[in-house]
């Protein structure tokens, strides 16, 4: 039995960085511009206080990691002309941080992370990536298992120079953060409104998919503004209608007023699928792929194939296996 999710000791860290860690495990999109990124380190488990680090080349980074065996290592999503001062911004990856521990609906109800919520995070990642590719036509997308969830890192040239505002808008689109407002003026001059499930394309479709995901994963403990416990019970009892895509009937059963409140609540929960602060921050540092997440003793891993990736098999360091 593998003892996962336990904190690594300084000895474990040393073992990991001297015996197991290899520079080749850092993805190429970081290796090829190490000299343009800011690095940050946490040596004590108190957070990344050692920032503004700069490595001229891979050799210096290797030496640093082997010698210091940090509690956690990070590198910037941005490239800079002078990374040691975080000056001369060149570009930033677009990042979505899906943390299994912070998912807004968690049927597993575990305290930290477990296999079930890690799987759930994987499902969210797959949905977001589909939207990034199909709706926004973005490419060069990398998935990193962070230790307790996933980072989606987009390097498509289209987004590298975008500002925070547009990144925030992309985030709202891919997670379904706004209830679609669909109205038009009819032939008689009156304003007609449509529900999101009536338009099977673009953003309304994304919102419908995310709504389905959220409602089907409700544990019943979720608090939604203006929705009582009694109403929540009714929603849970009727949610099979959503499974079979009978949204209109579902709306009829719970009533249009409750439905509107529910959709507002769903949009708010959708926004919690990812950590929005990470997406809009152009100067964020993110856990370095290949480094050790010492809090849970797992390797931050570049995921080549999301479908077959199993963190409990592919991101467990040797020292954990030895102990087990």
């Amino acid at each position: 039995m593998i003892r996962i999710f336990q904190e690594a000791t300084p000895e474990d860290r040393r073992k990991y960085y001297t015996r197991e860690w290899k520079i080749e495990n850092i993805p190429d999109f970081i290796r090829e511009n190490i000299h343009l990124r800011e690095f940050g380190f946490d040596h004590t488990g108190q957070g990344p206080n050692d920032r503004y680090r700069f490595f001229h080349d891979e050799k210096l980074l290797i030496k640093f990691l082997r010698y210091r065996a940090p509690y956690a290592a990070y590198s910037s999503v941005a490239l800079y002309k002078r990374p040691w001062r975080r000056e001369g911004w060149i570009s930033s990856e677009l990042v979505f941080d899906v943390d299994a521990k912070d998912l807004p609906v968690r049927p597993c109800k575990c305290d930290n992370v477990c296999e079930e919520c890690l799987d759930q995070a994987k499902e969210v990642v797959a949905m977001i990536i589909d939207t990034l590719r199909d709706d926004l036509d973005l490419d060069d997308i990398h998935i990193i298992y962070s230790g307790r969830g996933y980072h989606i890192r987009v390097l498509d040239p289209l987004i590298l120079e975008l500002g925070s505002e547009v990144r925030g808008q992309i985030l709202r689109y891919v997670v379904g953060g706004d209830v679609p407002k669909l109205s038009y003026v009819g032939l008689d001059g009156s304003i007609r409104s449509l529900d999101h499930f009536m338009v099977d394309m673009g953003y309304p479709r994304v919102f419908t998919e995310r709504g389905r995901y959220i409602i089907l994963h409700f544990s019943g403990d979720e608090k939604i503004e203006d929705i009582t416990r009694q109403t929540m019970k009714k929603i849970l009892e009727s949610r099979d209608l959503i499974r079979s895509d009978d949204w209109g009937e579902f709306k009829g059963v719970i009533g249009p007023i409750v439905y509107e409140r529910l959709m507002r609540g769903v949009a708010k929960l959708n926004l919690q699928l990812v950590d929005a602060r990470v997406t809009i921050d152009l100067k964020r540092i993110l856990r370095l792929p290949s480094s050790l997440h010492s809090k849970v003793s797992m390797i931050c891993t570049h995921v080549k194939n999301l479908e077959t990736f199993n963190p409990l098999r592919d991101a467990v360091p040797g020292f954990v296996k030895e102990k087990s």
Binding site: L136, V166, R172, V199, G202, Y203, R277, I280
Partner: protein, 431 residues
Amino acid sequence: MMSTIFINPFSQEAKERVKAIGDINRIMEDDPRLFRIIEHTSGQKLDDDSKIPGSLWELSIKRIEWYLKKRGRGKYNPGYYRFLFNPELAEFDVVAFYILAQAIGARFNPNSRETRIFIESEGELVKERLSTMENHLKERISTSILEELLDGETPHWSQLEKLLENRRIKLTELILKNGKVILDKESQQGRNRHIIEALREKIIPYLIIQETEKYINKVHKMAAKIEPHPTLLELADKIREKISQQFFIPKKAGAGTIRASRLDFDAFPPCIKNTMAGVKAGNRNDAIVLLLTGFLSYARLYPAVFKDRKPHKVSDFDPNLDVTLNEILPLIYEAADNCEPPLFQDDPQEKFNITAKLGFGLHETPSLEHEGESKWYTPMSCEKIKIHLPSLCKPDKLCEKIQNPLTYYNRKRWEKKGKGDKDIPRSNTRR
């Protein structure tokens, strides 16, 4: 057949027409053809000659005046401006557009109030012209505009980056497929067709706004190298005068208005109180520059901004900047010093950013000569605070009902007043 130049001044046809008839030396001359068109405009009120433009110069001013009157609280009689919606006027109108754009671009900063009002007025004109058009005509013109400005009816979403950045449109309002924005009505059927139609009508005024912004920037850059025509500068001054009249703040505000007064610290929302107490590294910059600067300046000078929605300048309320320099800035700087570590100790350039957020460009301290180099920013909304500064957001009961810290401040002051707290006790004005 109606020409697209009435909606799109950036079409090839519009540019050619302007080249042919837009002689800057003659724009002040009366043109009987212009009068004839106005006279024959259906519904046009003709009882007052002073309200009818006789020259291109006067027509340019009327375009701005229409917008100011329409969005102002004063008397607005649409009958005096019907000619602006008469397609017969298209040729004169497009020349007036370029005269205005050049005058404003040459004289004012691209972020100035004058520029913003002109750009907004253009968007509003296009919107209203489109809404009064017959459907088949609207379709034809919309298609040609999309082709001219976006190279087709299915542009890539990234072509709308500027509109997204300015939040004029939201990505979630668009219908996207493989990166393309679907604006091609013919490819859709049933309900989807109606949705696309509504989207087309919404997006076109914003496309014109986007192009107008680009054009103004170009003119502004050129004006730094080439001396602008004196007539244009004269027109710009006239426009400034018109706008200032509209934005003059009477000393006695009417009943029900939210008046500027000394700051009432007790009425500050929790996020502002937390910011004033000092913020830890990581959140300091956003809290001081984006949240506190906008909050304190608007709370002190123009608390009714969300009610009036007028693009005022700081000097409209504080003509010599006495309040700004002696009351507002010291409070912001004090909060910056309370940060851990003190904000200006390692980020001295943030003083420049604070000045910029007050509308005085990137300078260390605000001065009237730089006003308009940037926009006077309103404080962040509660939604943004929750994302950017979650550690400062400790909502109380009143927070549930509001969406911006400034609204909280006004509501709380109003509640206090209702409870008989007639004036702010001296002890609450400065802590």
